[in-house]
Each structure stands twice: as C-alpha cells, then as structure tokens.
Amino acid sequence: MRQTYGKQLPGMRLTDLPGKLIVIEGTDGAGRSTQINLLKPWLEELGHAVLDTGMTRSRLAGDGIRRAKERNNLGRVTQSLFYATDFIDRFEKEIVPALRAGFIVLTDRYIYSLMARAIVRGMDANWIRSIYNVALRPDAVFYLRIGIEQLLPRVVFSRGFDYWESGMDLFPGQDIYEGFCNYQAALLAEFDRLAEEYKFEIVDASADAETVCTHLKRKVLEIIEPVHVEAPEAKLLGAFAESLAEKIFANLSSGNGAPEHRAAQSFPTAPPAAQVPLLRRNGSAGERK
C-alpha cells in the first residue's frame, strides 16, 4: 500500500497502485527534460508503459497559469495556489490513474519544486507543506543538482534569461543577471534543505547528459527490476533451486530405471505461489498488494 505525506484526498484508494512513481527534480536548466526525453524511450523499449508529466501541463490550469504569467500581475499566494491546482489536477487525473494501470510515471518536478518556489517567494513553509501533504510518496526522487557557476553558461548561451527563472517578480527593477543569480541561489539553498528532509537521491548534473543518463538508468533499473535484491523471497527461491539440483544429481548418479517416475515422486513440490511472490520485471513483488 502506498502512502501520502499526511492526508488523503476524497475517493483516493492507496491500494492497487502497482506502477512506479519516479520524480526528476532540479532547478531550472539542470537538464531534467533532457533526461526524461532519454529515459522515456529507453523504458518503453524495455517494455514499460511510461507517462511523462510536468508542471503547467494540466488540462484544467495549464493555460490559465500561462495567461496569468503573461500579465505579470500574478501575486505570490495566487501563484502558489495556481500551481497547486495544476498539480492536483494532474495528480488525480493523470498520475494516480497511470500508477493504477501499472505505468512508470516520470514526472518532471513534483511537489518539491513547487514548495521550493513558494518558500523562496516568502510563503510559510508549513503552509505550503500542508497543501501538498495529500501527494503520494514517490518511489524515488532524483535531484539533478547543479551549481550556479555551471548553470549560468547553460542557460545564458542557450535560451537566455527568462523573467520568471530570474525571479524578476521578486526583484523588480533589478538587473536580470543579478535577479537570476539571486533567485537561483535561493532556490538551490531551498532544494538542498528539501533534499535532506525528503531524502533525495542527489545526482551530479554538472556532468554531460550521457553520463548523467547512464547513472540514472542504473538507478531506475534498481527500482523497476529489483532482480538482485536480497529479499527473503529471493533466498527462498534460491534454496528451492538448490534442492532441485541436488535431487536431479542424486537421480542421475543413482542410475536406477524409470527416472521420470521416480523424479516426479521425489522432487520437492514448489511452494504455493501465494507464499513466494515471483520476481517480476514490472515492479517489485512486495508492493503489489
């Protein structure tokens, strides 16, 4: 059974959510979408159904947020709640249904970015946490961490400075470069705090995309195909295989007639499936129920 960070939304069942919820977090320009664009086809090739989702992509509030941001009169509390509306719409209408259908959900940012952005804008940390305490705890959070020094050239020489990424709503009248540095540093500090609190898996995002991706793939595999875990059921299966091999060996070396018949009698019977959950390629056996 899955868990939330506290409260449960009405009508939300936490059982039968066999999919995997994998979060890619990081500040602007850390390479989150690049990594998701690499991970998604790779997972699909392995045979997994994948849902990728991200901020402001909800049917309900996506366009509303974009329009509100164009007008530049979006207040800080309003902004925080508009993003919460967008998140909960995607959470209820996309993320949870996909998990129920056994999908791997790759989400570009989750509640942590939303909390960090709100906190940096002066919102009370407990207030913003209380709103997002209805969210599911994910299976993993990969935090693509990058310092401002490495981030600056990436952003500036590719897409230039963005009003919101530079926190210009917070620093009106400031030079956009100063705004960018101030805002991103504040975000980074908040992310580091959240990383500790929510036990993010920190990934050094200053490396090239391929290196980061190789690292992420290995980590993702550990979550979705835990074949080499030292789970009790794995040991049980191992013991079963061992005793099977012993019997075969004994039968072969005894050299008596009608080996098939004898074998059928003397082989240990397999434990019932209910006792030994089989190792699945799509998800860990332990979390199915």
């Binding site: 939304l9 509390v77 709640l81 509306t85 719409d89 020094e149």
Partner: protein, 251 residues
Amino acid sequence: MGISSSIHIGPYEIFYPLTPSISSVQQYGQHNLPGRLFVVEGIDGSGKSTQLSLLHKWLEARGYGVVFSEWNSSPLVKDTTKLGKKKKLLTPATFSLVHATDFADRTEHSILPFLKAGAIVLCDRYIYTAFARDVARGMDGDWVRDLYAFAVKPAAAFYFRVPLETAIGRLVGARDGFKYYEAGLDLGLTLDAEDSFRLFQGRILEEYEKMIPEFGLTVIDATMPVEAQQAQVRRIAQSHLANAKELRVHP
C-alpha cells in the same frame, strides 16, 4: 559531488531569506490594517447579497470609501474556473483549489491593498463558503482551513441563517433552475437537480452551524423582514467603525 553551494556569486551576495510584500502566510491574517472588512455568508436564497448591497449604499452615503469583492470573480482565475465547470473537470480537490486561487488573487489585489489604504471592504461570501462547500464535498476540514490560512480576518462575518425550504422557495422561479456545482450534482447524490440541491445545501447548512462558534460568526435571522435584518447589520457594522479612517471617495 564537486558542487559548491556558496551563497556568493561573483561580486553578488545573496540576500536570503527574501522579503516579499506579504512576508509570510499568517493564521487568518491577524493583520492590523486601517481598513475594515465585512463579509456576508449563507446559502443561496438566504438574502445575503441583498443585505450586503443595502449596507454598501448606507456606508457610501456616510462618506466611506467602500470596495466590493464577490466570491469567484478574479479576472486572473475566472477562465480556469469556467473551463473546469463547463467541461466538468473539477474534483472536490481541484474545486477547492481553483476557488482558493481565485480568493488569493482577490486577497492580493482587491482586499489587502484596500484595507491597507483604509477602505471598507465588503465581500459577498468569504472563506466560510469554501469551508462549508468543500467539506460537504468530502474534503478534510483541517486541510481546507490550512489552505485559506492567508485570508484576512474580517471585522464581522454575518451569517444569514435560513431554513432550507425557505431558501428553495425563494430560488424556485427566481432564476433559471439549479446550477450543476451549486446543487452538488458533481457528487452524484441524485440526478434530480432540486433534490440534489436540497441534499447538498443541507450538508452545507450543517457546516455553517459548526462554524458559528468556531469562527464567531454573527448570526442574522434571515426569515425576518429585510428592513429588520438590515437595521441589525448596520448597528453591528457601526460598532466596528468607531476608529476607522473615513476615506471620502467623492468629496
């Protein structure tokens, strides 16, 4: 990891924590503002809007600067709410959030700045509407109360208490039928709009009753004649205006 988490970037020092205009969300905004906030609450058909507009005229006639803000009217959020309602996209949670977003925009643009300027702000429906409706839709009461923690505490919140049948009697024929979300049809309680309205608004009335002691709502008996209710409302409003600055809009 080889990543420095220094707070100095080149010659620039980061000022963190930041100091925004609303420094932090306060529990129901215990702001000490020169203006006064009056709000009216009650189910549809309770007559609260009529009473508020009479109060509005009276205050204006006395020379106060009066600003009116209606539930669910933010120009920034209205398209989103409209889309959600029209396409029936809203769940109890997103219904709650989209209204909180609307309320936040009005707080930041239409309520707080005017209270800071010393005006009288009148709100037709306030956070109590959200608490009643969202809890009637199945949301957790504490979660919704936390959501609205940034709201300014009103000087007085008038609750127009009316029996359900009286309200329905006033509504039938007074406007074109019962609306989908107002009648709680999204909850699938029953297919008949009037029955659904009765069930849903009945739940809402129960929530209002609980909030009277919780938030100290001022109960007005909405079955009394309009004039008698208004006299009561004015008397109470008056008692909160003793030290209010009188901003004359049209000197």
